[in-house]
Symmetry: C2
Subunit: 557 residues, 2 copies
């Protein structure tokens, strides 16, 4: 194997290592190394192979998937190198293998590997390769497991986030709160990253905030509320006004005055009862620490009888000093009812005390939310502005895995096809180019795969698009616009220009645009219209020629 070419060396230098330091060439299945040895022993290890990475079915009963994980794959490829101690470890578990093989492993990198991919954050569909990876068979095999690992969960959770955004609507703030329930530390960190790509606004996960620049959110928990017992605990009671011109010497007293007013306000009668003093102490303490961002969790004792009036008393006292309270969070109970009642309470206060804008105080809700509960809330009516979503979002509870696979489609210029009695498991052979054809209204109509040597489809042409396996499913399409899907992210030794890795923000924006571009019936939560994927007439004929002969013999021209 030659040393890394200059161009790629500089490319690699500019690409940082994978975010998780555990992503090394050993993060793969043992059989990739045993196969590498068998290839090496047979003298086949440098044979040029093309693999497609694709999935067979969109998750969550939907018809679309958001592609995530590409940047991490490219970071992995750019820094692929086995360390001496890793090779020693492999030697220890493959003790009968010849030394020459470990010498080979010591020398390999990905300088002779080419990676083409659909841009990260794109809306993608089954069977169409998300990535096409070409290179020496023994090297590319080693990439299979980490690539599939890095893409599977990333795409799954980005899709899940996009689905939650679609149900919640664009006007709501969506917060990812899943770290504690995620599948391990970087289960949480990856979830934060890919939920942001899929349309969430912020995360509670500080590590993800630092690693990726995702906005952070967080206030306090029930434990904070329960840790207080009485107002006597509050020693420093002074709070400076927002404009700095004066200081309220006893903020506790100001809050108590407001609580008293609330309890005697005619329009609120019956809404307020005996509020919990320890809760009030917690709220006041939190407000003293964060007068600019006072948000209170109001359900530790009783939302309507205690949490809400306590919050309002503090919010009104803050208002006296020029601050605007951020809002409340509901973490249990009937979120529809409680949010509506809370809104009424805020509105009544706005009216009673002439506090402009108080009625618009934000209401956040959390507690085991998922697509179904968001949908139910929409149907029942609610006054929630912000959702905090954890478990169901980050573990992809309703479908915890996406079945991405990595299939050999060509070796030594000879097409390969994985057959199966299960038609959904048959892979589409040949090194391919992939296109998205757009109609007059700007919606994507169909994705089309062709052999690399075929002429690409052109806007305005009449193009035959065929279902890859079912003869009767075919149509002529005249696209208004044609987009090539697979772009070069790692050119290897070729002279192709390498696509720059976009920033997280750009990936997120791209994702939002892509989702917006789709025809809405493909995006329905229940019973969506299938989006069509197709192959050219020539590729169709070739697939069926191969299939009939049950063994790969020809080559697509």
């Amino acid at each position: 194997m030659e040393s890394m070419a200059e161009a790629n060396e500089s490319a690699a230098a500019s690409i940082p290592a994978a975010t998780n330091p555990m992503v090394t060439p050993l993060l793969t299945d043992q059989y990739q190394y045993t196969m590498a040895y068998a290839y090496w022993k047979a003298g086949k290890h440098r044979e040029r192979a093309v693999f497609d990475l694709f999935f067979r079915k969109s998750p969550f009963g939907g018809e679309y998937t958001v592609f995530g994980g590409l940047e991490e794959c490219i970071r992995f490829v750019a820094n692929f190198k086995l360390e001496d101690e890793e090779i020693s470890f492999l030697q220890s578990v493959m003790p009968r293998c010849e030394d020459g093989f470990f010498e080979f492993l010591r020398q390999i990198d990905c300088s002779d590997v080419e990676v083409y991919a659909i841009p990260e954050g794109s809306v993608v569909f089954p069977k169409v390769p998300l990535m096409r990876v070409e290179g020496p068979v023994a090297v590319v095999q080693l990439l299979e497991t980490p690539f599939v690992n890095l893409v599977n969960f990333a795409s799954l959770v980005a899709t899940n986030a996009a689905r939650h955004r679609l149900v919640a609507g664009n006007s709501k703030t969506l917060l990812e709160f899943g770290l504690r329930r995620a599948q391990g530390p970087d289960g949480g960190v990856s979830a934060s990253k890919y939920c942001y790509i899929g349309g969430f606004d912020a995360t509670s996960n500080v590590a993800a905030g630092k690693l990726f620049g995702i906005p952070l959110r967080g206030t306090h928990s029930h434990a904070f509320v329960s840790s207080f017992t009485s107002l006597n605990e509050i020693v420093s009671r002074a709070l400076q006004c927002r404009d700095g011109t004066s200081t309220c010497k006893d903020f506790v007293n100001l809050v108590q005055t407001w609580l008293n007013k609330l309890q005697h306000a005619v329009s609120l009668r019956g809404l307020t009862g005996a509020t919990n003093e320890s809760e009030l102490a917690a709220f006041i303490s939190y407000a003293l620490a964060f007068p600019h961002n006072f948000l209170a969790l109001v359900d530790t004792y009783n939302v309507m009888r205690s949490g809400l009036p306590n919050f309002c008393a503090v919010a009104l006292a803050l208002n006296d000093l020029g601050y605007k309270a951020s809002g409340i969070r509901l973490d249990s109970g009937d979120l529809s009812y409680l949010s509506i009642e809370s809104r009424k309470f805020f509105n009544a206060i706005e009216k009673e005390f002439c506090i402009a804008g108080f009625g618009k105080t934000a209401i956040a809700a959390s507690n085991d939310l998922n697509e179904e509960t968001l949908d139910a809330l929409n149907k029942q009516g609610h006054e929630i502005d912000t959702y905090g979503i954890g478990t169901h979002l980050v573990t992809c509870y309703s479908q915890a895995a996406l079945g991405c696979v990595f299939k050999l489609v060509e070796i030594n210029n000879q097409p390969r096809m994985k057959l199966s009695e299960d038609i959904t498991k048959v892979s589409i052979p040949c090194k391919k180019r992939c296109f998205r054809l757009y109609g007059r209204e700007g919606f994507p109509l169909v994705d089309l795969m062709i052999g690399v040597n075929e002429p690409p489809p052109m806007a305005g042409d009449r193009i035959l698009c065929r279902h890859p396996f079912i003869e009767s499913k075919r149509a002529y399409v005249v696209p208004q616009h044609v987009e090539e899907l697979l772009k070069c992210y790692w050119p290897g030794k070729s002279h192709e220009t390498r696509e720059e890795l976009p920033s997280l923000q750009d990936i997120r924006n791209h994702c939002m645009q892509q989702l917006q571009k789709m025809r809405s019936d493909h995006m329905r939560r229940i019973n969506p219209t299938p989006y069509k994927i197709s192959v050219s007439g020539r590729l169709y004929d070739f697939i069926h020629f191969l299939w009939l002969n049950e063994a790969p013999v020809g080559e697509l021209q």
Copy 2:
């Protein structure tokens, strides 16, 4: 905050950092830091708080859970220290907080935190604390998210592994093959670790093999088979005999001779047809590379017509040279039928060619296996020796999250209780000790929680065990043996002896013993008998006194 005490300093020195370098004090929810600031502002940050980590319901519809993740939590605690750049980041996201707070953060470590826990690998039950964490409230709050994160998935996947082992039976070999479908890189690595603890025998994950010393397994994939076209590709055809005394010059020819014999053997007639030559080439190449460990994936083309006879021809040729083939792997189709037919084929060969032991050639099966498919295979009958299990195992597909929580139970020696209208969400207050009471047959009877100042239960005594919330559920128990569950794993500034962290192998052995000890009706896959957890009469009375008064006022003596 004082500097770390000497004893703990040496303890910390001996405990390595968490396995995943992403596990730092920033791997937590933002609100832990905002609360820490509010505690600090209120002068409450050093108040001594006790938190319980527990779950409310065993996963997968079962009545037991395997506790995992403790070692990672202790590693985290032992190395807990905020780096300067981490503090700078926190300053950037909490720009209005006073400098003194960041000074405080700079100084904190876990030298004043005490962690008691049930030994890792133990069988554990709902509501009983897996860990009791005590220390300055602001510090312990920062541990909440990472602890819950580290325990949740670890316990979930260890339990899932144990359940798969229980269905498969002790005689089967269980391989974890999940890396590619896992939720991210360490979703895979953690799954490998905790599946091993829960009873799996090996993993395909090389990184996990290196990190934890878990046995590795792996041979080849369909791509390997499809990468060959004909026997002409095999250039080096020589294979030395196992005993080194001679060399077979043309192993390909020897295999072909055997294939011919198989095709003409009377007892096998009808079983063999036209085998696929590219598959045979792949098998021979693999055998030439791994004559000591020849295991072939036999379903790329057709198991009965091609894969099985090809495998047997190679295995018989290897047998001529003194090697014993490892076996076959089935990755599709009717695994019950195919394994039984394969066994018949092996037996017929053993008889036809008088090859002792050939009938016992191992049969491995993979392909989306889970508890249900293992159970179905048992009912249908099969001849499988080894299962390779991936997706369902490592993503815990049937229930992707365990709901561990971390609840404040005491602060400043004052008990705290989280109330809820949902009885299953009410937490059990007070700093507690926990015991497992064993009956005459050696089975655990009940877990018992008591206040730390109560006299502990003694073997032979008549002990009142009460359901924590339901008055009518209570019984006297006379235990044969009493085991204290919570042991000191991190003594903080106390003089308690620190339990050593056991090796992974010891944790696994402990888990196997614990599972064996359980009464089988608690372990049933469907409709298991609930295992009882209880509180002492005194703790019961105190809980209900607190509950009635809806606010914590007293102290349990």
